[in-house]
């Protein structure tokens, strides 16, 4: 059995650009903004980076194919630079590539960069992605919210919950993230909203209204990783190490057979089980200090609480309404605002989540600092609930 990544890789430095409608900045500027912060935090020179992974999801906007745009933006001459893309799990994929490179001993210091420039499309929401030539002939062109909104139909049907109760729980999810976003200086949306505003917002994809959908933002996040030994040798004391990095992909069973009931995301469950095993977590609700989950839409966050084993199946809507995942709840969720309010520049998101854990673990989270956190979990979902990829990374203080 594989020994896993736990405590083999330490975060040497991190950076994150301000997320939002960054009309004044292109991808290159966003990358540089996060990189300069990370490099200073790591306390190394650019020339010490041995390899880089570049996460960018949409090549119709942003910088196009390949990792060359990253090498060019940061002038990384002659080292291996690789582009990774796995839809909304792209940022976590960049971290995974860099962490595995360090963990394997291939390089001493590796760079993970995620960026997305979504506000160059000319319209709100995500660009329409390609589906490949075969799927394009039969698969409906549906928006991302309509893909995830189907969880609500499945969840309601399975647990026999009326529309209004679920809608209220979904509204609480967004209400909480908006409150958190106020205390998050780099977040895209930093304004509290009322439950009434959320409940009465225009419909995007039934039952999701505007406030059930995350921000479409520009932004970049960066991690520089190395081994704990090298980190210590470079003078780091409090080490944040990677405890788990796991990914699970659909093989088409959820969307192609009758096995899936539409009330959860099986990939998350598989990735979570593997990640908990890798990190040695047995009671996530007690052991996890904070979570950053893929709240692309409010319903996604709600079912993710069950998929991560934090709420019992069919009970997440009660826990949400009871405030279990609020900033002062048992398991603070999206303490930085989450995708909902910090924003969701796709390629950067997975790294942005780890950035928040990193700040919290090192006591650098300012106004929103949690009390003595030890372990943080990040969760990304790429694609749609019935056909996608779930990525989980867990980071914590090294004993």
């Amino acid at each position: 059995m594989a020994s896993g990544i736990k405590d083999k890789v330490a975060i040497l430095g991190m950076g994150c650009s301000r997320f939002g409608e960054r009309w004044e900045s292109g991808s290159e500027q966003l990358i540089n903004e996060a990189f300069i912060e990370a490099l200073a935090d790591a306390g190394i020179e650019r020339a010490q980076i041995g390899a880089a992974w570049f996460g960018s999801a949409l090549d119709s906007v942003n910088v196009g194919n390949s990792a060359i745009p990253l090498a060019t933006a940061l002038r990384l001459q002659g080292i291996p630079v690789t582009r990774v893309e796995n839809m909304c799990a792209t940022g976590t994929e960049a971290l995974r590539g860099a962490a595995y490179a360090v963990g394997s001993g291939a390089v001493d210091i590796a760079l993970a960069v995620g960026v997305e420039k979504l506000k160059d499309t000319g319209y709100g929401g995500l660009p329409v992605p390609g589906k490949g030539t075969l799927n394009d002939l039969w698969m409906p062109y549906c928006s991302a919210p309509a893909g995830f909104a189907q969880l609500a139909a499945g969840y309601r049907a399975k647990y026999k919950i009326d529309r209004e109760t679920l809608k209220n729980a979904l509204a609480h999810v967004s209400w909480k993230s908006h409150l958190n976003g106020v205390k998050s200086p780099k977040a895209h949306l930093r304004k509290a909203v009322s439950m009434e505003q959320i409940l009465n917002a225009p419909m995007i994809a039934e039952p999701l209204g505007v406030f059930d959908c995350c921000g479409v933002s520009d932004g970049s996040a960066v991690a520089i990783v190395t081994t704990p030994e090298i980190a210590r040798a470079l003078g780091k004391r409090d080490l944040v190490t990677i405890k788990a990095l796991q990914l699970a992909s659909s093989s088409g069973r959820e969307s192609g057979t009758g096995e899936w009931d539409g009330s959860n995301v099986p990939n998350t469950r598989m990735a979570a089980a593997a990640a908990y095993r890798e990190a040695g977590i047995t009671d996530p609700r007690r052991q996890l200090s904070q979570i950053e989950v893929h709240d692309c839409f409010s319903i996604t966050e709600l079912v993710t609480m069950e998929d991560l084993g934090l709420s019992a199946d069919g009970e997440a809507y009660r826990d949400v309404l009871d405030g279990v995942y609020d900033a002062d709840g048992a398991v603070p969720c999206q303490i930085d605002g989450g995708l909902k309010c910090f924003g969701h520049p796709i390629g950067a998101t997975g790294l942005r989540m780890v950035y928040e854990h990193y700040l919290q673990l090192l006591g650098r989270a300012g106004e929103r600092q949690l009390k003595s956190p030890t372990l943080g979990l990040s969760h990304n979902l790429g694609g749609v609930p019935y056909n996608g990829v779930a990525a989980i990374s867990i980071v914590g203080l090294m004993a």
Binding site: G125, V128, W138, Y141, C142, L151, A153, M203, E206, G256
Partner: protein, 483 residues
């Protein structure tokens, strides 16, 4: 050697379910054309954005072919003046959707709204031993504010012609040609140009049609009072009764002209009148149908003993309706107004024709796969089974006639869609397959359209995407609630 007796061995019909009240159309134009109000009675059939002559024909053909106990037709003809392609055989698209064998002989007929009856006569006069499927379908376009906009409808008729026991035996036909230009539409143009109705009726229809019918009845040695069912298409309203009177056919024997609930269906209209008679006539009844247009086509039948009737038929198709009152929606569906759909509508939907051909049976005929190891039915058909993972074990499995239900769904207001919201969801087929599909014909009932998890669904062949850059429509199957 005498020829075997040919006749109609099966039939089917389809009328698009959307029906707009003519009052809604007239009201929209009342500011400029108050006179339309006097003609605004009843309702007319309206195609959704994803229906055209091909999809209408497929729906009628499926009604005709389903469970009729006949051998599969070896030839197929499609009559239409509104077929989407000028050079790409429309009948072949229909045949592929019906999953007919590649040996089927296909042909398109056009040029006049009488082409439906012309194709029927040709099939009935044929010396073939095997069956022919004659289809006629039109989605008629009319200029906003024209009387045609009120009168025109859309629909399709399917008639299977063969030997042996028939629903109606073919007696004979008469065809005459006159260059009487009551209306015309130049190639590439969208709308018809019509001359005065009174002239068409008095100088054209009233002189040409009775004369042709008289010749046919004389040849068949049938007195006019033997005709129990008489229908006339392609002529101004009321012409049928005038012609009947001139011939001595009692007015109650005139087949209802479908104007009150459907509208004029072009090439399909005369075949639909024939189907109306087939649904109501008794064995031994004589049926006479005529179509006017640069002369006329007249066909005579005698009702036979076959008791086969389709599941839907014309009466079922007329009854299955979704009321519509928005004229602007109709104008948009008809392409008469081009709404600003936003930048999302700019996404290129160019199809890879090479890929389309590789997956032709999957996309056109909705043939998925069944794993020969674990029997799981699945779509699309990929190299490895979705359930057991076995490699290269997929055997073709036709899914077009399989039923299913909604497993998950949403109503998508964000995605560019010509009839928002786009209803989309995972469809769970009773045979075990599951796939993400568009759900159409949902109707209007709050934000959810009255559908929910568990709503029963049947499959329909529809336009999947219209490539507006290259003017190419491509088709796939969509799910519709079973009403």
């Amino acid at each position: 050697m005498s020829r075997p007796q040919r006749g109609i061995v099966s039939y089917g019909a389809y009328i698009p379910k959307l029906r707009i009240s003519r009052a809604a159309i007239a009201d929209a134009h009342a500011w400029a054309l108050p006179g339309l109000k006097s003609q605004a009675k009843g309702e007319r059939a309206l195609c959704s954005w994803d229906e055209d002559s091909i999809t209408l024909a497929v729906a009628a053909a499926r009604d005709c072919l389903r469970g009729n106990g006949r051998a599969v037709p070896t030839s197929l003809s499609l009559a239409s003046t509104t077929a989407p392609f000028a050079d790409l055989q429309n009948a072949v698209i229909v045949a592929s959707a019906l999953n007919l064998d590649h040996s089927v002989r296909c042909s398109d007929g056009s040029g006049s709204t009488r082409a439906g009856l012309s194709a029927l006569a040709q099939a009935l006069e044929s010396s073939l031993d095997s069956d022919t499927l004659v289809l006629a379908a039109d989605r008629r376009a009319a200029k906003p504010g024209s009387t045609q906009e009120l009168q025109f409808g859309a629909g399709a008729a399917a008639l299977q012609i063969g030997n042996g026991e028939t629903i109606a035996r073919y007696l004979g036909s008469e065809s005459v040609s006159h260059l009487f230009v009551d209306h015309f539409r130049a190639t590439g143009e969208k709308h018809d140009y019509y001359w005065e109705e009174r002239w068409i009726r008095d100088e054209g229809v009233s002189k040409v049609v009775p004369a042709a019918i008289k010749r046919l009845l004389k040849r068949l040695e049938l007195p006019a009072d033997r005709v129990q069912w008489f229908g006339l298409a392609g002529a101004p309203g009321g012409s049928d009764k005038l012609v009947a009177k001139a011939l001595g056919i009692a007015p109650e024997r005139v087949i209802p002209d479908l104007q009150d609930r459907v509208g004029d269906c072009g090439t399909a209209h005369a075949p639909l009148l024939l189907i109306n008679a087939l649904e109501n006539a008794n064995p031994g009844d004589i049926i006479l149908v005529a179509a006017f247009g640069q002369g006329c086509e007249v066909l005579a039948f005698e009702m036979g003993e076959s008791r086969h009737r389709p599941a839907m038929g014309l009466s079922g198709a007329i009854a299955a309706r979704i009321p519509e009152t928005s004229y602007l929606k109709m104008a948009s569906f008809e392409g008469e107004i081009d709404l600003d759909w936003g930048m999302r509508a700019e996404a290129d939907v160019k199809a890879a024709l090479t890929q389309h051909y590789r997956a032709a049976d999957q996309i056109n005929a909705f043939v998925g796969g069944r794993c020969s190891v674990c029997n799981t039915v699945q779509f699309p058909r990929l190299p490895n089974c979705v359930s057991c993972g076995a490699s290269e074990t997929q055997r073709p499995f036709a899914m077009a006639d399989e039923l299913g239900q909604i497993a998950t769904y949403s109503a998508d207001w964000l995605q560019f869609y010509l009839s928002p919201p786009l209803y989309v969801g995972l469809v769970q087929f009773d045979v075990g397959a599951r796939l993400l599909m568009e759900i159409v014909e949902v109707g209007a009932s709050g934000t959810t359209g009255g559908i929910d998890v568990g709503t029963r669904l049947a499959m329909q062949f529809r336009i999947k995407a219209r490539d507006r850059k290259r003017h190419y429509s491509r088709y796939f199957w969509k799910a519709a609630p079973i009403r």
